[in-house]
Symmetry: C2
Subunit: 418 residues, 2 copies
Amino acid sequence: MGTHKQLTIGLFGFGVVGEGLYKVLQQTPSLNASIKKVCIKNSGKNRNAPAALFTTDKDELLNDRDINVIVEVIDDADAAFEIVTIALKNGKDVVSASKKMIAEHLPALLELQQQTGKSFLYESAACASIPVIRNLEEYYDNDLLHSIKAIVNGSTNFILTKILDEGLDFKQALLLAQQLGFAESNPVLDVEGFDAVNKWTFLLTHAYGIVPSPDSILFNGIQNIHSSDATVAKEKKQEIKLVAQAKKLKDGKVAAFVLPQFVNQDDHLAFVKNEYNGVVIESGFADKQFFYGKGAGSFPTASAVLSDISALRYEYKYEYKKLYHHQPHELSNDIFLKVYVSFDDLTLIPKEKFEWIEEWHAQADRKYLIGVIKLTELKENNWWKENGVSLILLPEPVIEEIETRKLKRRSLELAGIV
Amino acid sequence: MGTHKQLTIGLFGFGVVGEGLYKVLQQTPSLNASIKKVCIKNSGKNRNAPAALFTTDKDELLNDRDINVIVEVIDDADAAFEIVTIALKNGKDVVSASKKMIAEHLPALLELQQQTGKSFLYESAACASIPVIRNLEEYYDNDLLHSIKAIVNGSTNFILTKILDEGLDFKQALLLAQQLGFAESNPVLDVEGFDAVNKWTFLLTHAYGIVPSPDSILFNGIQNIHSSDATVAKEKKQEIKLVAQAKKLKDGKVAAFVLPQFVNQDDHLAFVKNEYNGVVIESGFADKQFFYGKGAGSFPTASAVLSDISALRYEYKYEYKKLYHHQPHELSNDIFLKVYVSFDDLTLIPKEKFEWIEEWHAQADRKYLIGVIKLTELKENNWWKENGVSLILLPEPVIEEIETRKLKRRSLELAGIV
């Protein structure tokens, strides 16, 4: 069935992913892909590969005309961007796993792809072994993608599972995650939602043709989830998940955010436990599709990198169909969200910012309310992230329009607030 | 990002799938695809499209030089094969939804693709909206695909769900499935496993490079599942599913079969209820991947057909990588299976054919045993499909080697049989 491009790879990074990749490519001659040179930062370490393979000079790879593919699996977003830029300009295809770099430089990376015509693939950067980018790009190539909801960060999902299923508190769960290698020693990127929103940035590009900057998206992590929140979830037979989501609105725009959310036990995402990831894609035609698998770790990451390498053999590139061939969608923050907010101190909660408050539980030590609030209020102010306040979305959080403000006043009255 | 092939489509069939496709293509000009002509069997029907679009003469489509894509969504496997053959020979790319036709003619279809160099895509023919073929083809392009297990038939899964979850008996459940449109009025193809094994045939090609004929694969449907089997499943906290599976053996060969199976409640496949389908792919690198979605019906089918059409814009074709670029695997029936067998009449069970029998429940009206038997015994004889005998695999059914036959004699003795 035709001939395939012989791939000669220059690899940046020889950590667990890089080394795993090297081994698999050696064992799989059918892939027609071999690593010619590996660029490492620290030449002093012992490596399980011939010394002649290694260099610390990146130009040895980037200027080698034999090398037609650069694979970068390094941990430094700035260095990664430089490598990718030069590689594409030098006429090489590139496979990358650096979600932070991609999220921060997406407009420039899109331009580089257009200028050079080369492939830039990064399936491993979101949900690792789940082929979510390729499926969004190829499978929902029409105007029927209603919504996408996903658990894209394995560390936080592991921690939430331990809190909800095993009754650990946040600190215990985080410690366990670190012990098992599911969280970094500095876990802020994961725990506070930065990693998730980075991934969501470019998944929105493949889903809807939106190219947002990470800071234009409302997000939070799970750092404020309180054991009393878990108790409430259990009473309601729900789970708490950190959910990245996007939903097409009636006006054709897209609402997108990354926040903790109560999830019903029959929801697909409730099935996603521990360090796993899951993606639920809802389309008008195909109903709900659910993709599930390991979202992080060296092997799942190497697996996705390998699939990208394999795709280069038949010169696959992302077309960014939603961006270039469709009318790209716009992001909208002009919606209301139905939220649960728990807190110790009532004075921390700006009650007047809510459209209305439906429930008010002030008896226990830890208090909570359920109410409706503008997304922009959350985007612009941080009271809901600070001082131990915990905000969790309800299962169907998006309200597009509110018919009358009377409701608001009435519910505040009912709650005895005004 | 470059230009794309303008697709001019000749469509065979204007049932729910064909008509749905026509509407979506009209509403999605960005796809660069339009239907020039539709070939129908019965010109008398009223259609929701201009009369000039229709013809009953297939040559009007097949000989039209403007038409570069043939999409066939008809219900007649023999006619479909003829159409596909001529279309490919006439230099047209083809999208098909006819699983029976593909299963029965796969070797010829492979040859046609090689001869003509044209694309022949059929994602909708297995698991409809779940992109299983494309992911097997593109994502597991290495020697690490350990196993694949799938629920590929929605009708039987719906019936089993009603039997297990709602206590219906087989006939009631089947009737309900028919009333809701999940089963044909003649349900034999679904219920007795023919549809599932047809799909499994070509999924094995994309997974392992095996091109089996449907009758070389051991299979059964769910027609003999007895309400007492559901009771046993409940006692064991298990579900019963019709599972198509393939597993790589230690000798590099692949065991494959389609049989009812007890499934633990924490198994991914237990999540798949009613008319849904699910696929679990286990690979050495990526651990378990789970794909879930609607497996049949007009919209999911049209969704998959649309994705194939969209893929033709960048001249995508299946490479059959496992077949042409790897050492293709061979099918092996040289294994043992751990099975549950229930029956009313002991004399119907050839006990001496079992390697050993582990459990023996002869007290109740409906009796059952659990034992180990050669796959070839089941392949060559039909006692386990007849006279109301019901055979169900245990959760981990494959035994590759048996160390000593002593075990057999001992267990038969224990069971009081010899």
